[in-house]
Symmetry: C2
């Protein structure tokens, strides 16, 4: 029956014989036929050409979207609009092992509220780290509105590294926005609460409930926020909303809008008009202007007191120091957007039809001249609208958020009620173009749109309703992000992209080549702490250590086995599994799941992760690699045996299910020799070409060489057993030798194909 | 300052004035320019035309993919390859409120292992419910490999309704596969374990460890599996893998492949060759053939005993009754695929280069003639390969899974090691075409490929490695599903689709028009139990009920307020919130999140959900609607006040932050009158056209009429207060009146635009 192995070999040697056939006579149907069949117009075809990205192609931009109450960050490519990754941030996510391994559990534990694990987040506004107002591609920050937290994602591996909890707020819609050199991350409260842990009745809302704005200090060197060096502006209970940091002439200042400056407290259940009525009664709310540079100096000078361990700049102090002002803004706004050059600020109120353009020069003059129209009930100086405003432009009903184009003075504003995008000129105050979208747009994102030098090119409308845009999938609809070409005078709708999980609020998009993520970790790496893991293990050093009823297993994973394959513990033991992925090959992630114990790990090449659980019940617990990592992935398995307390093993050893003889051994050896000949021929092909010019092939060759190294070890063992006449073990190790050869051949063939498909040349 | 309202009105009346501009002069850049810029070939353009789906377009097929260890099911459209929905199945998912509301927690609780909540699943093989072998579009089943469970998803709302735990297994890779009329759902074990809860040492592996195959009884009328009427075949410890049910002539039979029939137990940590070596030594494994019809009759006749409350057909009984046979199959297979007409079965072994085609007629003959080549160590009769085989075809190195075309005898097999798809003819046994894919393909899916009448058209390769296909996103790569056009003689690669979350294993694809999901629930619906909720509430009937220290809140949500807006409880109370979404409009989902309590709900139109928590700590807990449901979404808020035990409220009531006078009231009334005039003009436009021919518009008009109804109520209240001289409340209610008008206008404008864009005609 060895005929099959022989056939395998013949296929290897004659590899890919069929492919010649496939390359010819491609266009069986004409483009016109396809367009007719699918009802596509010329305009559709143009949009298709502008978005379609062939296999292996790259997107020009990567968009990072909040996931809303999914608690994730969503990464997608522009213009292909293909979603590349969901990053677990505030919500455990098992594919990534996030919230399952001990290391990431420690990150989530930083976000506990009152000692309680919080199992979701309401992510809203992602922001890139910046250098001189430009995205530097190093970090992403994102807030949780429901529980006032900010997370730090490292863009070198797309993992969440840190979560901080706001010391004062109990909601935080208004994060994250960064200062031009990522000195601080801005995070505003939303719903006013009494600062501190106390219960305060709503009767004392005006006196004791407060809003605020936290400036989180960021340490760029270590990539972490520093709560101990952060400070918060105490603010009136005005529902502070979004923020933006000044740039250029306005650098050092921050701008934060608000709604419900009426300070209305609803109670429809007791006959009162609801919040929505009382919070939208006044014609204007307040833009909050803060001077963070001066605030930081006060903190540095020891002039700011700590409350509950955190710096709190009281309203009284802020007013006294001249670092906090209010300016009327259109009511119920959502978005305060500083122009790339820092000279203007645009605010839109959802219940106004105008975008308001403020002049920083005017604001600054008013502040310097101490020209105020009065003070609010909390003593905060109010700059008159006329002393701050550049112009008001009628842009549509329900204007919301503005993004800046690369073209001077050109901006795009989302229009919620009218379901459209308005393109307009904020210098001259005139509308240039309008485009319908589907439906009820929230925020917009233009490429590098929040940076000091926006790229324009594409605009994405984050539509809150999808309704009839896609095939129906039940009462809960996807969101709809619509890609718009803004390179010409007229906006052109290119693509509707459903968001299948989460309810995004805000997106930031970065030039893809600014990101340089790694594909593997240093061996034995704790990725969450960014350091060598104390639990790392090397091949051959795997061990199990018992200390009382605590058992530590130091194991490894490599195609296609887990070491150890049998773990024995006793009922009641606390077990910590520590696994290192020994692979160096790109994309060779191994997973690890175990029955009944909530153990589920994702272990990327080089990573070391741990899982701790209590073996509460005697029994047999299979475990296995969850990632389809090789042809023998299903055989990458093992057993945890939880023995009853005081269990005494009977004499005897594992009986082999199948016995092997010298004939079996010889047969396997023959196969291995033949397979090696095939590998040699593939190697000869590769080395006879300029393969070193192809980094993909170099990586494959490195990986293949590793596998062949393992093969040599297995061969040696096999021969050793054969010499002793132990054909059982000799045959099995010879089989293992063959397994490594198959892996080598897999890689070699992939390398050969890559060379053939990419025009490699023969070398002399 | 009422100028803004006036401008809003002028915009409403002159609505969409700018849009005329946008419709002309579209093609600013030519197709050729775009292709050149983006480096697209003619072949790329053709692929773009075959996949691009314009805004509002529909996909022809919906693919349902497992999410692997993400624990979800992923739904995407074909050919657009846009992901439409992630359905939470075994893993809590907050966007859907899955695992957060009491109702869905109850579903997840059905899947507990040893009383423990399991927080993930390793979903593998989805399967549609069938009628006469055809997908009927009603239900989807999916397994969890890590913890042996099967879930039922109802396709009328895309929600998970039931989870059942296998009574014998401790892993279950081999589900779900359905019999032709969904009588049963097949679910095979993977890693052998001792049945029952006992610890059994590995020394007794051959004697006491067992594999198996469960036939879960499905009750089509209520859409639930019936554990009490299900039965399991006890099987040798051979690592049973995938299954398929017979059809046509083979109906009544099931086929299950296996690997490691060597019954090898590894132990690399103790010097033994690893599982991968010992489990791939024999040239063949066993296909398991079971007769479920006869087994069901035995169960019905009371001839099968229950073990731990579940029917278990022992090997001895199965052999005696002639309902269980083995046939050699290529080693380490993954996939056993019955032809649409039920006459052939194809199995591929990943370590063989051949696909093996079995003839059901031959197998049946051998069974009827009791012609066996022997028995396995457990007494199960073995049918000789030659007595079962139709042909063997060399398809490539590492063949894995086969899908059937609409064309007779044409199939597609994934080739893992060679990274390709082979198209071949299984009747004549010849290869027709081969196509490279990127990289290391696992399963394939053809449209309706597992049904009795496959559609062909498209094939999707589920590639396990993405490596260099997409922009890099860190060490953990997306998966890559490659769409292939199989309508012609040659396969044509159309599209690379990254999977951003999860590691899919298997996909099934159904004709989209077979699905008829609802867009709203009956009002007050418990969607998980498919019945009216006992906690449903109607508008105006909201209430809070205290019973000892248990507080039940019966509330409602509608644009843009939550009733109640203030909830008062005492420290230590157990609070149950029950919310009904009063909306009838499509896509008008409301969310509900609360600070610090892990309360996070998704409440689609009509749904009633509950959240129960203990108010452990006195304080102020803001809550809000998480879905951006209207312009005043941010104002859809409230406060939970947890009062210290024994707290006595001081006299006094909420002081208004802003006071309103008769002048404010008059101003608001004027605005409302003007807004009403605008609404009337929009209504006049709509009713003067054949709007009833547009279902979208009819829905919008219904919704707008509802909102206007609320407006009338608010107006009445406002006038009532004004008559009493209470201008505070009169103004606020007048404001609320305007809020409803704005919502009405939003809907009216959307309806008007829809009519204009879709060629509505004037009616006489």
């Amino acid at each position: 029956m060895n005929v099959k192995k022989k056939r395998a070999l013949s296929l290897l040697t004659g590899a890919l014989m069929g492919l010649g056939m496939a390359s010819s006579a491609y266009a069986q149907t004409s483009l016109e036929d396809v367009m007719k069949d699918r009802g596509l117009t010329q305009k559709d075809l143009l949009a298709a050409a502008k978005t379609y990205t062939p296999s292996g192609g790259r997107d020009e931009y990567l968009a990072f979207s909040s996931g809303g109450q999914s608690g994730h960050v969503i990464v997608y490519g522009v213009p292909s609009m293909r979603i590349l990754k969901y990053i677990g941030v505030f919500t455990p996510e098992p594919w990534q092992g996030y919230g399952f391994d001990d290391e990431s559990k420690a990150v989530l534990a930083q976000g506990r509220i009152d000692g309680k694990d919080i199992k979701f987040g309401d992510t809203h506004h992602p922001a890139f780290s910046e250098t001189k107002g430009e995205y530097n591609g190093r970090y992403l920050f994102i807030n949780d509105k429901a529980n006032p937290r900010i997370a730090v994602i490292d863009l070198h591996d797309f993992e969440t590294k840190q979560i901080v909890v706001n010391p004062f707020f109990r909601s935080a819609h208004g994060g994250a926005f960064v200062t031009p050199n990522t000195e601080y991350v801005m995070d505003a409260a939303q719903y006013a609460v009494p600062f501190g842990d106390d219960f305060v009745p709503l009767e004392e809302f005006n006196e004791k409930y407060r809003g605020g704005l936290t400036y989180w200090k960021f340490n760029d060197k270590v990539g972490r926020l520093e709560p101990e060096n952060s400070f918060t502006f105490e603010m009136p209970p005005y529902s502070q909303d979004l923020s933006d940091a000044g740039k250029g002439p306005s650098e050092g200042w921050g701008f934060t809008n608000s709604f419900c400056s009426e300070r209305y407290v609803g109670g429809i259940e007791r006959g009162r008009p609801p919040f929505e009525a009382g919070c939208s009664q006044k014609d204007t709310d307040f833009m909050h202007v803060t001077n963070w540079k001066k605030a930081a100096e006060l903190v540095a000078a020891g002039k700011v007191k700590k409350v509950n361990g955190s710096y709190l700049i009281t309203m009284e102090q802020a007013v006294k120091e001249g670092i906090f002002f209010l300016i009327p803004e259109p009511k119920s706004p959502h978005g305060v957007d500083v122009s790339p050059d820092g000279t203007h600020i645009i605010v839109s109120g959802k219940l106004d039809s105008h975008a308001w353009v403020y002049s920083w020069e005017k604001i600054k003059k008013a502040i310097e001249a101490k020209k105020f129209e009065g003070k609010d009930p909390y003593g905060v100086p109010i700059i008159a609208m006329k002393d701050a405003l550049h112009t008001q432009v009628q842009v549509g009903l329900g204007p919301l958020h503005t993004q800046y184009d690369a073209k001077e003075c050109v901006v795009y504003t989302s229009i919620y009620v009218d379901s459209m995008v308005t393109k307009w000129n904020y210098c001259e105050g005139k509308v240039l173009d309008q485009l319908h979208i589907h439906y009820n747009v929230g925020h917009l994102v233009a490429m590098e749109g929040d940076s000091a030098s926006p790229d324009g090119k594409y605009l994405i409308a984050l539509n809150k309703l999808a309704i009839d845009r896609f095939n129906p999938v039940g009462p809960l609809h996807p969101q709809n992000h619509q890609l718009i070409d803004i390179s010409g005078d007229k906006m052109q709708l290119l693509y509707d992209m459903p968001l299948p999980l989460g309810e995004p609020h805000y997106v930031v998009a970065i030039k893809a080549d600014k990101l340089k993520p790694v594909v593997r970790y240093k061996t034995g790496w704790n990725s969450r702490a960014d350091k060598k893991s104390e639990f790392k293990t090397r091949a051959g050093r795997e061990k199990t250590v018992r200390d009382g009823n605590k058992v530590d297993v130091y194991g490894t994973l490599i195609r296609s086995h887990i070491t150890p394959e049998i773990i024995e513990v006793e009922e009641g033991d606390t077990v910590s599994l520590h696994f290192t992925n020994l692979e160096r090959a790109q994309d060779e992630t191994h997973g690890f799941a175990m029955y009944g114990q909530n153990v589920n790990l994702s272990i990327e090449p080089g990573k070391t992760v741990s899982a701790t659980f209590k073996a509460e019940k005697a029994g047999v617990y299979p475990y296995y690699c969850t990632e389809f990592c090789s042809a023998l992935h299903l055989e990458m398995q093992g057993y945890l045996l939880v023995k009853p307390k005081g269990y005494k093993a009977k004499a005897g050893k594992i009986a082999e299910g199948t016995k092997y003889t010298k004939a079996d051994y010889d047969k396997q050896v023959k196969t291995n020799v033949d397979t090696q000949a095939v590998i040699d021929s593939v190697v000869a092909f590769i080395t006879s070409h300029n393969y070193k010019d192809f980094s993909t092939v170099v990586d494959l060759v490195t990986d293949a060489t590793d596998q062949l190294g393992f093969a040599a070890e297995a061969k040696k063992k096999s021969e050793g057993f054969a010499a002793k006449g132990d054909y059982q073990n000799a045959t099995l190790w010879a089989g293992q030798h063959w397994q490594y050869q198959v892996k080598t051949a897999d890689l070699g063939l992939r390398a050969k194909t890559h060379l053939e498909e990419n025009g490699a040349k023969k070398v002399k």
